[in-house]
């Protein structure tokens, strides 16, 4: 529950006098390996991406890591050896993700072993996507609301994605946990900082049930964008990854479902 967001908003409105892009002297660091990938309950193939970090002021071009040995096994004795489909992107062949099952990723790349485990939670039904229009301080904003029944008695973690006219909206990380809401009927606003949604847009919302480690990864990732504005964390750091062996990134086994609406 981010209760401080409105305070931040008022303060920015009143006090922030200026904002400008600055060039900082940031250190050069040796490239680090980044592994990201998912197994879902929809049909495969699923892919794992392996690439490397670059310096802050370099272009957003991340060198792929080719020639890795990548395997995903489930808890029923099935192991899928992935094929490098394009540089740094590895695809499964016959693996089918199922809710309630545990998946183990193992990667051998650049003479190092990496592994990760993720359990796909049971699905939770996304009832509907509705819209909320708020105005104030000279801005009108349209935000999507996801409506669903949280199952009581178990800890649930959710991740949402918005596709606006087919384009992934990636400026915000939408995650939700039921720590304060167990068993409630949830209407959660997918809050964006400014008005990205416009009347007439086609909006697709994906809902994933994710496991706790993946939730923590995205929670910390959201906090790590710098010693930022008001109320940001005083000590940003790399999010805790569920991948052992020292790689950045995450491996998530999650359910998925989606709904499409037209913004009015």
């Amino acid at each position: 529950m981010k209760v401080l967001t409105p305070i931040t908003f008022i303060l920015i409105f009143l006090f922030y006098s200026c904002q400008k892009v600055v060039t900082l002297k940031l250190n050069t660091i040796p490239p680090q390996i980044v592994i990201q990938g998912e197994v879902t309950d929809s049909a495969g193939p699923y892919s794992i991406t392996i690439n490397q970090t670059v310096d802050f002021y370099a272009d957003n071009v991340f060198p792929p890591v080719s020639g890795a040995i990548v395997k995903i096994s489930d808890d029923e004795g099935y192991t899928d050896s992935l094929t490098e489909f394009s540089p740094g992107i590895y695809s499964t062949h016959g693996l089918q993700g199922k809710a309630g099952h545990t998946y183990t990723l193992s990667v051998f790349a650049q003479n190092t072993n990496y592994s990760a485990v993720s359990t796909m939670p049971m699905p939770v039904k996304l009832d509907s996507v509705t819209l909320e229009i708020t105005s104030g301080f000279g801005m009108q904003r349209i935000n999507a609301i996801v409506n669903f029944q949280d199952p009581p008695g178990i800890a649930n973690y959710y991740q949402f994605q918005e596709y606006i006219n087919g384009q992934l909206f990636n400026k915000e990380i939408f995650i939700f946990d039921d720590r304060l809401s167990d068993g409630k009927y949830i209407s959660a606003t997918l809050r964006t900082d400014s008005s990205y949604l416009k009347s007439g847009d086609q909006l697709k919302v994906n809902m994933f049930s994710i496991d706790q480690n993946v939730y923590n990864y995205f929670l910390q990732l959201r906090q790590s964008s710098g010693t930022g504005a008001f109320n940001s964390t005083a000590s940003p750091a790399n999010p805790t990854s569920n991948i052992s062996g020292g790689a950045l990134g995450y491996f998530s086994a999650h359910t998925t479902q989606s709904q499409i609406i037209t913004v009015y």
């Binding site: 400008k20 957003n60 609301i145 010693t227 109320n231």
Partner: protein, 775 residues
């Protein structure tokens, strides 16, 4: 041990021998026009300079000497020195009224008066400010603020641009004990730190102890800020106030019974948010952002030996966004005190104190209606005895008991609410008690010492479940305690020692050592102070924070004491410091203690301070060179790293120039090294958005900070019945864009790049305040 015991016997026997054939002169020192008691005035017998002593927090002084004829000399900064001929053949009562100097221009230096207390007294690491001293300084938002003025002194740093939060010698903001008439102020800020809770109209005296903390104070590691409220004019009624662009103040005071009792009520309110009401947009119109606070005090003299005081503070902040979100928060304090003079040498004060800080949040959206409440509250009993043994010999002892309750968070959801359940994190209970003793004694003409001991006991009480956690933060064991059951006792001895050795008539060297402990910890893991930061007591998981500090200093006065110079070096070692795991969940979390990590800290530095006390030009230069570091197993591979508040250089220059009787000009210049911060060195991509790679904690520095403020005070016509002045200030006069924070993002114009964005707060903040006073 036996050596100490031996020393103790010597000191005590000296105390006893003083008792014979000696008489005492004692009384209360007051300001002539208002009857306000004066704290820290110097009193001594001209013939026996060693008798020098200071009036206490209630203006009481006591001096003993052999039978004879003497001249009693009384001096106090900003007042005309006074002298009284006395024939000491029996215990005498001598009340004193001192006359304030009209303007600094007319200051006459009376060479016979020794204004060298700063040199002679063993106290070091002590900073004093009076409301009068800051009245001509430039300010932000037109509001004089004692906490912001303090930040211009050595060893004290601002916690953020324009803010009232401060760091003392590498301590965090929660390591300062902030007292208003002895009541703890748990959150000393309004509007998220841009105003302090201290209304300068209501304040008499401010003392910050950062080195040799007297034994009567305890509970925080880094410093004690002792703020005393005005008693109110006991001679005549008076109304004063100020009108500003953002806030206004009104102050009413007067006698309850002339010379025997008085009252004061002081109130403020900001109205910066009123322009929101002009908006056509209903959401904006219904938003609010303001605070008010009230200080009130009354005192009454019950005969010659007893005096009672009742004082209180109440303040509240309101922040609201439309009808969907609202938070209000504030402090409430109440202090009842009873001064009793047992005899001319034994002064006692008994205090009953109440303090509370709470916040309430209300969130309404859709059919959700959720309230979040949290508070910290204490009931405090304090008995303090001061025994004036003889020349330069004073014993102080007492008892302190505080019952503390914290309610970390209760979430109440209306029954029809979606999304949220009602959740209650159980209240936590503790008792903090202490016995203390200290003695100040002149061992020779040149050597003064002050030694003391504070024995503190912190008792963690039930009811409640107390968890034990594994390294991953999962509860592995639960112990349940009933109401009033003792969960844990922490006993700590805190020795305090300071001494001064006078080298010449106007210079001395000093040494001090102090151990301090802290059992209440503020959980705050963001870049700014939040009203929702929660205090937690020590527990089975959270150990008391302990600090040991040594400091050495050299003090020297120049030019008939017109200039004061001092330099101090300090080293402080800190145990059981608290930091947070990545992604720590601090709000409404039953297992909040599992989110914490514990480590060590150290800070050391050099402070230089030169002050020109009076003359047409007055002011000071303060410079601090320091380092503050921490070590945590989980951070930076267990190596020492700079703390967030580590700032290498810190410079402040303050000048006040009295042009003539009408105009006063003032300026201050501030420079400091940027904070230690964690910035990314590299990046990768998650779902098409840049994610950042951090290599180490606090490996980078914010750009340095500097600022010039200027101010002008125009004195209006002064009559017997009315006084007024205009105060114009310009904060950040050359409009430097000082970085408040730097954040990192994908370049909105070019998705193939990332960029760093700097946010700045205040540039050229002008303000005008009109102050008036009716007598």
């Amino acid at each position: 041990m036996s050596k100490w015991f031996f020393l103790f016997i010597i000191l005590l026997s000296e105390s006893v021998s003083y008792g014979q054939n000696r008489h005492t002169i004692s009384g209360i020192i007051k300001e002539s026009r208002t009857g306000e008691s004066l704290i820290g005035a110097t009193v001594y017998l001209l013939e026996l300079p060693r008798t020098a002593s200071l009036s206490n927090s209630y203006g009481f002084y006591s001096i003993s000497a052999p039978k004879g004829n003497y001249t009693l000399i009384i001096s106090f900064s900003g007042f005309i020195p006074d002298s009284v001929k006395i024939n000491l053949d029996k215990d005498l009562s001598q009340p004193i009224e001192m006359v304030q100097r009209n303007t600094e221009l007319q200051e006459v230096v009376v060479s016979s008066v020794r204004q060298t207390d700063n040199v002679r007294k063993p106290l070091m690491g002590v900073l004093k400010l009076s409301a009068k001293e800051i009245q001509d300084m430039p300010v932000i938002f037109g509001e004089k603020d004692i906490l912001k003025s303090l930040q211009l002194l050595p060893g004290v740093q601002s916690a953020g641009d324009g803010g009232s939060g401060f760091y003392v010698r590498g301590g965090t903001t929660d390591q300062n004990l902030i007292l208003l008439d002895e009541a703890t102020v748990y959150n000393p800020s309004h509007l998220l730190g841009f105003f302090s809770t201290f209304n300068s109209d209501a304040i008499k005296d401010v003392t910050l102890y950062k080195g040799a903390i007297p034994a009567e104070y305890g509970g925080r590691l880094a410093s004690v800020l002792d703020v005393r409220m005005n008693d109110g004019n006991s001679k005549e009624y008076q109304v004063s106030g100020g009108l500003g662009l953002i806030s206004s103040r009104l102050n009413v005071e007067g006698p309850i019974e002339k010379d025997n009792g008085s009252f004061i009520v002081s109130a403020r309110r900001t109205y910066a948010d009123l322009f929101l009401k002009l908006s056509k947009d209903t959401n904006t119109k219904n938003s609010s952002l303001y605070f008010y606070d009230i200080n009130a005090k009354a005192n009454y003299k019950l005969g010659d030996k007893d005096h009672i005081y009742l004082s209180g503070y109440f303040g509240k902040d309101f922040l609201g966004l439309g009808n969907s979100f609202g938070i209000d928060y504030g402090n409430t304090t109440a202090t009842f005190r009873w001064n009793h003079i047992f005899n001319s040498r034994l002064f006692s004060n008994t205090s009953l104190i109440y303090s509370k800080y709470n916040y309430d949040i209300d969130v309404t959206s859709g059919n959700n209606d959720v309230a979040i409440n949290s508070f910290i509250r204490d009931y405090h009993f304090k008995e303090d005895m001061q025994y004036f043994v003889g020349s330069g010999n004073k014993i102080n002892f007492g008892l302190d008991v505080i019952g503390i309750t914290t309610s970390p968070g209760v979430i109440t959801a209306a029954p029809q609410s979606d999304n949220f359940n009602s959740i209650s994190v159980p209240d936590k209970h503790a008792i903090e008690s202490a016995l203390y003793f200290s003695q100040e004694i002149a061992l020779s003409e040149k050597l003064n010492i002050n030694y003391g001991l504070r024995a503190g006991l912190f008792t963690v009480l039930g009811p409640g479940a107390f968890y034990t956690y594994d390294s991953a933060g999962y509860a592995v064991d639960t112990a349940n305690y009933g109401s009033g059951q003792i969960v844990k006792n922490y006993f700590n001895l805190e020795p305090r020692f300071s001494m001064s050795y006078q080298l010449t008539g106007n210079s001395s060297v000093k040494f001090a050592y102090a151990r301090t402990t802290q059992n209440l910890h503020l959980l705050s893991n963001s870049t700014s102070s939040n009203p929702t930061d929660v205090w937690i007591p020590s527990s089975n998981n959270v150990k008391p924070e302990i600090a040991d500090q040594v400091s050495v200093g050299w003090f020297r006065n120049f030019k008939e004491n017109q200039y004061e110079f001092s330099t101090e070096i300090y080293y402080r070692n800190m145990q059981n410091q608290i930091d947070y795991k990545n992604g720590a969940q601090l709000i409404a979390n039953v297992n909040v203690e599992s989110q914490l990590i514990f480590g060590k800290g150290r800070s050391y530095g050099l402070e230089l301070f030169i002050k020109k006390k009076y003359g047409q030009l007055s002011g000071w230069i303060s410079y601090t060179l320091s380092r503050t570091e921490r070590q945590f197993t989980q951070v930076n591979n267990d190596s020492w790293y700079p703390a967030n508040q580590d700032r290498t250089n810190n410079l402040a220059v303050v000048g006040i120039y009295k042009l003539n009787k009408k105009w006063t000009l003032s300026a201050d210049l501030v420079y400091y090294t940027g904070n230690a911060v964690s910035w990314p060195s590299g990046k990768y991509e998650v779902n098409g958005q840049a994610a950042f790679v951090y290599v180490e904690r606090n490996g980078y520095r914010m750009p340095s900070y500097n600022r010039l403020d200027i101010g002008v005070t125009l004195q209006g016509k002064k009559t017997k019945k009315f006084e007024s002045n205009w105060n114009f200030s310009l904060y950040n006069a050359y409009g430097r864009e000082n970085p408040y924070s730097i954040s990192f993002q994908q370049d909105p114009g070019d998705p193939s790049k990332t960029q760093a964005v700097q946010w700045s707060l205040f540039r050229w903040v002008p303000s005008v305040t009109y102050n008036f006073k009716f007598l």
